[in-house]
Amino acid sequence: MHTTPILYLKNIVKRFDDFTALDNINLEIFEGEFLTIVGPSGSGKTTLIRLMVGMDEPTEGTIWLRNERIDQTPANKRPMCMVFQSLALFPHRSVGQNIEFPLKIKGVSPKVRSKRALELLELLHLPKSFYNKRISQCSGGEQQRIALARALAFDPEIIFFDEPLSALDYRLRKTLEKELKDLHERTGKTFVYITHSLEEAMVMSDRIAIMNSGKFEQIDVAEVIYSKPVSRFVASFMGEVNMFDFKCDSKGDIKIDDVEIRSSVLTKDTKKIYSKKAKGALMVRPEFVRFNKAKETNDFQIRGYLRAEYELGSRIQYEVDTLGDSRVIIEKLREDRFKGKLGATVVIGWDIKHTHFIPND
């Protein structure tokens, strides 16, 4: 579906004095996709978005919009715009005037302008009566939609979002996340979204780019980011995860403290992968770990005792401490609730197919 890169960043470096904020970034953004850039604060994602929009220039590297080089083009000449974290609505203008602003700049007649503004209000599920409202009279969620309407009025090739939902409460955020995804599908525009919440990214995005200290760790679809992270950083970024350090001998046999491994699961192929890197981690998500019933065995197996149990609403989370030092997190649906007592000895395990191998850097 997405085949043509609309925006292409080549070897982008951005330095502030001694600090390197972006370290050789390469990125292709495809026409019509919803790409989310995720990273902790200070990872350089805001710097990156500012370069793409044109509020800053890269120290090195080039940015291409289709076949046109744009890294030196000022922001007001680039056919893209941004929805700010603060929204940056104009407090001295009415809702209608805010939405019409880009059209006014383009010299569109007042009649056409107001018609378009009303269309956009409708598209974003806001009543027409909002047209004459003041910005200060609107709630956080309404302001959000107005900022989006203003961006759409500009009719940009790409819309960037700089964590616009971070200030809203949980429920509203969830609603707007889905609305945004829906809007993306209806308008067919290219959306580039930055956030520090991978959960938010998962809900909306076609692709997710994980950023850490000025570099991309992984760029892929949500499914792959979740189940096959390339690094410990990516693995631990989303929700809970269990990771076990292992060592590998020359034959390709692996050893993990506390963990019993069924030797038959280590095929030639897996051994080959593991032995290339002598050290690394095995990752398994909490929902794939189970409590063994009597005489049941698993590909990977650990003995420990049940330390704690937490209600998560739809699921229940358990913590199992192993005889060694590590702690394993397990999550079960409510209907699969484990009926063990706290402090009881348990045997837990999981299958090779739910195991993912992460080499050390």
Partner: protein, 284 residues
């Protein structure tokens, strides 16, 4: 609790109210009463009479009022043009240098206005600092700089510079940076950003600065006396003359009342035109 707060508010503001009543309102009332006394009396126990107000028109005092207002208007406008870029720099660009500039400008207020104006007279007068140097070094003369309307306007601009600069810088500092960036991002040129974002959002500062400069300039006296050499008689000069040389307190009071009234109306009109609160996006 709320009731107690209200009571406390009244009690704590009482000293200030009393001070204003005695120090500000009472003299104003006296002046107002004097303005409707017959000419050349020194008591307010006379039969009221509006002859002093009639004199304003008949004896041509309105001409000096027009001069005062016109020069105040021109100097305020020029002040705005000069101060905007500087205030913008102070609020958004200069960083630490802003403090230096603030202190430097505020320092001028420490020296009395009259002394500073005398300084200009010594600099610009015939045989003064500039003229003297020009004559000695180049054989040129500098004449006709002093004692005209232009130099009075210059004096007004010079003296009331801080009164425009600081409110303006304050107003510009209140423009949210992201609104400017968003406007640029949505295609606005620097001029459009100035017109659509900067000027409206800085308008509280513009209004306060302009009002201060205008009111002060309209009531200014020293500039026309020292720099202007009374080539133009400003309105406050007439008021002073009426009180001192003319020994006609009712006339002086009437002229003063007219100035107060005109400037008061102007000030209220300007402030009411601009809703400070809604401009700040606070409420309506």
């Amino acid at each position: 609790m709320e009731r107690l707060d209200k009571k406390l508010g009244t009690i704590t503001s009482l000293p200030m109210i009393l001070l204003l009543a005695v120090g500000f309102l009472a003299p104003l009332v006296v002046v107002a009463v004097f303005s409707i006394m017959p000419p050349k009396v020194f008591s307010i126990m006379n039969v009221p009479d509006f002859s002093a107000y009639a004199d304003f028109f008949q004896q041509g005092y309105y001409k000096s009022l027009l001069w005062s207002v016109a020069m105040a208007f021109i100097s305020t406008f020029i002040l705005f043009l000069i101060c905007w870029p500087l205030a913008f720099g102070m609020a958004k660009v200069f960083g630490k240098f802003t403090l230096v500039l603030t202190i430097a400008v505020a320092m001028t207020l420490i020296v009395s206005e009259n002394i500073r104006l005398f300084g200009w007279v010594l600099t610009l007068m015939k045989g003064g600092l500039i003229d003297g140097y020009l004559r000695t070094w180049l054989g040129l003369r500098l004449e006709g700089v002093l004692y005209n309307g232009t130099i009075i306007v210059f004096g007004l601009i010079y003296v009331y510079f801080p009164f425009m600069l600081f409110p303006l810088a304050q107003g510009i500092a209140m423009i949210p940076e992201d609104a400017r960036q968003a406007a640029e991002d949505l295609g606005a040129s620097p001029f459009r950003i100035l017109w659509e974002i900067d000027l409206p959002l800085a308008s509280p500062g513009i209004v306060v600065g302009s009002l201060l400069s205008f009111v002060l300039a309209a009531g200014a006296l020293a500039e026309s006396k020292l720099l202007g050499g009374q080539a133009i008689i400003v309105f406050t000069d007439e008021v002073e003359t009426a009180f001192t040389y003319g020994q006609n307190w009712p006339l002086g009071s009437a002229l003063a009342m007219i100035l107060i009234l005109i400037i008061g109306i102007l000030a209220f009109f300007t402030i009411s035109k601009i809703d400070l609160d809604s401009m700040m996006g606070r409420r309506r």
